[in-house]
Amino acid sequence: MAQAVGTAHLETSTGLDNRKLLMWLFLGSECLFFGSLIAAYLLYRDRSVSGPHPGDLFDIPFTSVSAFVLLMSSVSMVLALAAIQRGNVRGMQIWLFTTAVLGLLFLSGQAFEFTEFNHEGLSLSTNLFGTTFFVLTGFHGAHVTIGVLILLSLFTVSLQGRIQQKNSLNVELAGLYWHFVDIVWIVIFTLVYLIQP
């Protein structure tokens, strides 16, 4: 978002772009954020004093599909970047849009999952599992939502012809964020869904 002062006029000391450096620092910092949430989940995973427990609710085939969707959105994201880096605006637009749609698909999957769990008696305050699960996956979902907003904004701006090869960095930065959200899900999918006590 924030554009660096004078990047147009001055080279940076390291030769690296300010915004890209900022993005990587942000992702490093986000590791601690999700680390804290995942740690809370792991700490409490088998300490709920009453049900329902993870094993009663998880629908592995369903979640595998939505994990797959998010993974594939990473592929389309990187294809959007590859397109614009070669000056292919049209290709970038298609792939950006695909990524946003896949992101929305993942989010609807999560909304469906949350509603299902709710129907089966799990809420934020039911037990420790409900608390930690909803907060962890909810914060991930919030990140995906922000990602989708960024992607759609980029898409809209690109329709006005304002994203070109020379400022492909905008797409690269959105991509870095998007891929990060994806790798967080890779971790959550394994630690929360597949590995159960």
Binding site: M1, A2, Q3, A4, V5, G6, A8, H9, L10, T12, S13, T14, L16, N18, L21, L22, L25, F26, G28, S29, E30, L32, F33, S36, L37, A40, L43, Y44, R47, S48, V49, S50, L124, S125, N127, L128, G130, T131, T132, V135, F139, S153, R162
Partner: protein, 643 residues
Amino acid sequence: MATEWPQTRKTGLADALRGAREMADQHYGIWSWIATVDHKRIGLMYGVTAFIFFLTGGIEALLLRTQLVVPNAGVLNADQYNRILTMHGTTMVFLVIMPLSAAFFNLMTPLMIGARDVAFPRLNAFSYWVFLAGGIFLNVSFFTKNIFSGELGAPDCGWTCYSTLSSKAFSPGHGVDFWALGVQILGIASLASGFNFIVTILNMRAPGMTLFRMPLFVWMTLVTSFLIIFAMPVIAVALFELIFDRLFNANFFNPDKGGNPLLWQHMFWLFGHPEVYILILPAMGIVSEILPTFSRKPLFGYPFVVFSGIAIGFMSWGVWVHHMYTTGLGTVANSAFGISTILIGVPTGVKVLNWMATMWGGSLNLKAPMMFAVGFVAMFTIGGLSGVTHSVVPSDYQQQDTYYVVAHFHYVLFGGAIFALFAGFYYWLPKFTGKLLNDRLGQIHFWLMLIGFNLTFFPMHVSGLLGMPRRISTYSEGQGWDFWNLLSTIGAFTIATSILVFIINFIYSLRRGEAAGYDPWDGRTLEWTIPSPPPHYNFEKIPVVHARDPFWHEKYTEDEEGRPIPVVAGAANGHENEGQEDHGGHGIHMPSPSYFPLIAALGFPIMATGLIYDYALVAVGAAVLFVGIYGWALEPATEGEEA
């Protein structure tokens, strides 16, 4: 800067905004401050705001000390005492020391590395506005109850807000909600400035300013910023968990549902111990600049001071359990963390020894900045040593939660951080006000503060060893604590007097102070090569750096025995830029002022208020935030640059 006013017809809001915007573009009037993205102005705003909070926190401290002056005093009741106590700690940590350090990051970092601004000027303005919003939000909590009938609405759980005291059941009312959301907002501000300064320091250095030619203060800013960006997310999650527990009945810290109150303590101190170094490392940086200047010697063992700073940064992640020795984590954990705590004293000791070696053999100019810097070394050493006595796990069981701990961390945070920050004021404010602070008043301020400080906090070692628990709102006679508490209270008012002297000095100097000139202290670093106050573009020409302490080396060369010889008079004054004044900075592209950081920042307190009172406001706040962010992203960043 005699530029003609642009012609505007003010017919609507948009035009009015544009008019204000143009005023801001001309660096003139109130709007130019509100829309500013200039690191120096943001730094000054940080400084003034944090100083006002310092006075608030100080008044809170005086109230606490007045209540404790004699046994069974009736100045405050226990409820008021707990609330004021909580706000005193929270204010001093989050609204005073951190933002005062941020003020110096802002003011000094770009000047010291030879840059025209920080890497993200608008993000920088955003940090300030979010900090201001969070600070006001936190203090508004006082008024959520009828303050005129003596009821305070502020949080009452101590600045550590341990679970389960912080739960809805035991802290009803909105105080803790305000605390958690307020600290959360402040965390956003710190994170933003943390990212900003890392990128600035890594990327915006002048030609030739290698990492190991950077001034020590810049190094400490870098380490601190790394600690901020890695520690803040942890407390953010802890605060979210607390907020979810309180507002949405989640169970993170609810023992009845199997939750573990100790999780809060772990998360809090995982953040909290790096936080201690976030508070003290900038102070160490300031002192490492002042001691060499006023000793006329380079910092002794520069690389070792740098590396010990980095070592402290890393080690600060491995000692958090020493806040939790008595929570029953077991002997293995306690001994491991006991040893790591002992070891973290070593790099700190290395720094102290290097500072003393810097002074040794120097030509010490005992002006107010130097006195405060030396005061820092002297007082911080005591705090560090009592810290070593804390690391001894079994004996710490006796000191845990007594006034001995209070004495220890005030020696570190007041005797350390606050002394160094005042040293920084006396040293660097003239650069920005153009006026030197009066040295005689400065000396009076120093001695009053030093005496008052020791009078307040040294007796706390004694009352602590005599078993006085911290955070008690009153105590009975016959415990042997009376005399020591009386001393502490007298000391606290002495400190307050010294602060008054500083305020008088500041106002007096602004009006009548001696002009500072380029280089009032025979300085060593780049900030002294430019006028006081600096032009908004800082450097007419970006300097080229050939050595550590670049300005010193322009003024002096060394003979074979290492004795410095002044360079020919003309070059020594740093006036090489003077002839270039008339350029007026034309042709230098500076970032445009922007209102969007302020608008975006406003979104957070609105959302937080909404979470407590009415969810509809959350939507309003989110909308404000989005307007701010979109406007920000789409406006051109630099004068004359297309988006």
